[in-house]
Amino acid sequence: MLLHPLGALAQVPYPRIAAAETTPDDWLTYSGNYQAQRFSPLTQINRQNVAQLKPFWVYQVRRTGIVETSPIVADGVMYITEPPSTVTALDVRTGRPLWTWTPAIPADVIVIGSPPVNRGVAVLDDNVFVGTIHGHLIALDAKSGAVRWDVAVDDNKFGYYVTTAPLALDGKIVVGVSGAEAGIRGFLDAYDPKTGKRLWRSFTIPGPGEPGFGTWGGDSWKTGGGSSWLTGSYDPALNLIYWGTGNPGPDWNGDVRPGDNLYTCSLIAIDATTGRLKWHFQFTPHDTHDWDANEIPILFDAPINGRPRKLVAMANRNAFYYVLDRETGEFLVGTPYAKQTWADGLDAKGRPRVRPGLDPSVEGTLVFPNIQGASNWPSPSYSPQTKLFYQPAREMGTYFYKGESKYKPGDPFVAGGGRAVNGDDAWGAVRALEATTGKLKWEFKLLTPPWTGLLSTGGGLVFGGTEEGNFFALDADTGKPLWDLQLGAAVKANPMSFAVDGKQYVAIAAGYALYVFGLP
């Protein structure tokens, strides 16, 4: 047997990722393509036969925990993460592990603001890239799991940690950080995939002398939060990265950080080559309800008022659906997609007309949406076939409380909290919105605000899940349920689809397991 010279034939080179829609058997990025549409063009599983869907194999994770992984599939191998920061490669034909790798996490690791989870890996060339809860970015050999390089993104002692799947671009690995609840100063980083050398850092909070610095009172910018904890999207033609930013710190007491607090709760468009900010759009100025804007920004092109536009859409945690021009950041559409009580709509520039008196208070202030928001990390989906934006919507309020927090490195910096309106008084839905207007086309009601993302497919289906453990398929045109199965534990993950040996499969994590379904 002749071995190829090292690097001569990279397995997943950049052009292959950029043309993801032409190789639908694979699923090469967190959201399936750079537009972050979580749409599979595969048609084999469709409206006519989805009722016959059966489990193909099940993989149980090695160590229990919340499994929020979104698998990647390339050439018959599936790469998943297991809590807290383990990477495992599986044979997609059998579910048998090929290798697994677990980082050495220090016992005194600081994880403030979320459970110690991981949402997935990136692949580029012959490597797999993962962020860890101790704040490292690590490149592993895709064939063996051997470590190629390991760099600290930032110091976990200050609360920086990584749960998000990195995004692989041409010669760059882009990664965001968590930690706003510890009072970090957020940023987005790009690293050289071959060496781990940092190529640029783009702070989400401007420093002295930079535009936007005046939106922070006193020294509050230093602990201003604005984490970047969910994977964004990318337009290769414009060479722009679209990434959402999180809440300002401390979360629920805005008195200590007067001003709009740019660029928290914003969508930022970053030049992929330089890391420079091209434009920004702030959804929730001076947020006091923890409504991070880290949700997935989906890219699509469509005419608006008769003129073809390059668009980016986000169903924001603050309960409004936004459509922006992705070349300029111009606000085009903004409309509520879930119950909200905090704003009398948006003005012509998309700025909310905030109702007075709804800040967190010592005695508690009831506001919709709740702390976790009308949307959160579970992915939306956009189908180029139906031109609908599918959103897992969370209908829930919270009594918001205001407290005090003194910043101390590595301590929670939140200044308040909430008490949820729970149980039968909260609910959810899968909502299909007309992508260019946000107008509701249909909804499928759920008993509980969901923590499951959505997948739409070329077979005319939308896959989703529930907190009660159901995994289901809906008709993408009407929302009619066509198939469901009880998986035995809450589904807190994103579905994806792939094909191998000419057969299509759908994968979803639930409980402590990853399930793969196919037709008999």
Partner: protein
């Protein structure tokens, strides 16, 4: 198929007054609890809710925490987290801080010993006379249509207990049991009519968007796919337990409260 949702929103925070009404412990213990509350709101409130009644993390305002049956195990959990269940070790805490947090978390789930003026022994006789055991179990004795009352006095204060038999519809427990959990109303009356005309009235045991499980008034279990039902009414604001308002004297009411308040677990 028709889904009716008769939901009086007044139910939303029904359990809160019972929590608020608890009298504070005294002196040093009270100070420890107070410090623990401050710590809790900063360190724990984001997941467990600012008052411990649960957000992303579980409700801690319960008499028994299954993973922390004693203070040592509670202390270990706060110190180390439960990484495999998603609870982080927030940060290294001092022994004093751990003491304060343990003290506060324990207060969340325990009602103080009964302060009812009634006579528990006479209350027990009323309990027997009214036939409560036809729906409730105490120490393994009775029927299981309604909640097991063996340790009801440990988890509920006198105000709640009184209201639970005077106006049970307003006092259906919420989220106190792992099933259906997540703050759902327990013992919710439901009325289902199947597509072949079968009419079933009972209490909801569990539910998801596609199915519902219930026990009918003869305590028989039923499972339905919602798509197979012609009608499903979830009767919020109602209870299948009769109200005893006006059927007992004030003295008898207090005697029954005293009896229930003394039910503090298996002996």
């Amino acid at each position: 198929m028709l889904f009716t949702r008769c939901a009086p929103l007044a139910l939303v925070f029904l359990l809160v007054p019972a929590v608020a009404a608890r009298s504070a412990p005294v002196g040093q213990a009270a100070a420890r609890v107070g410090e623990g509350k401050q710590l809790f709101q900063g360190m724990c409130g984001r997941c467990h809710g600012i008052d411990g009644t649960g957000e992303e993390g579980p409700n801690l305002a319960r008499p028994t925490l299954t993973r922390a049956v004693d203070d040592d195990s509670l202390r270990a959990i706060i110190r180390d987290g439960i990484p495999d269940r998603g609870m982080p070790r927030v940060r290294r805490m001092t022994d004093t801080e751990l003491d304060q947090l343990v003290a506060y978390v324990r207060v969340l789930g325990r009602s103080p010993a009964a302060t009812s003026t009634g006579n528990a022994q006479r209350g027990g006789e009323i309990y027997r006379r009214l036939g409560c055991a036809s729906c409730h179990i105490i120490q393994g004795q009775g029927s299981s249509f309604g909640p097991d009352l063996t340790d009801i006095g440990a988890s509920r204060g006198p105000t709640y207990l009184r209201q639970s038999f005077l106006g049970p519809a307003e006092m259906l427990p919420r989220g106190s049991s792992p099933v259906p959990g997540r703050g759902f109303t327990e013992y919710l009356p439901v009325h289902a009519i199947t597509s072949d005309g079968k009419d079933v009235t009972g209490v909801r045991i569990n539910e998801d968007p596609f199915t519902i499980q219930l026990r009918d008034t003869s305590n028989k279990f039923h499972s339905f796919r919602k798509a197979d039902l012609k009608q499903l009414d979830k009767e919020f604001g109602k209870s299948l337990m009769p109200s005893f308002r006006g059927r007992l004297t004030d003295v008898e009411n207090e005697d029954l409260v005293a009896f229930l308040a003394n039910l503090r677990g298996a002996k």
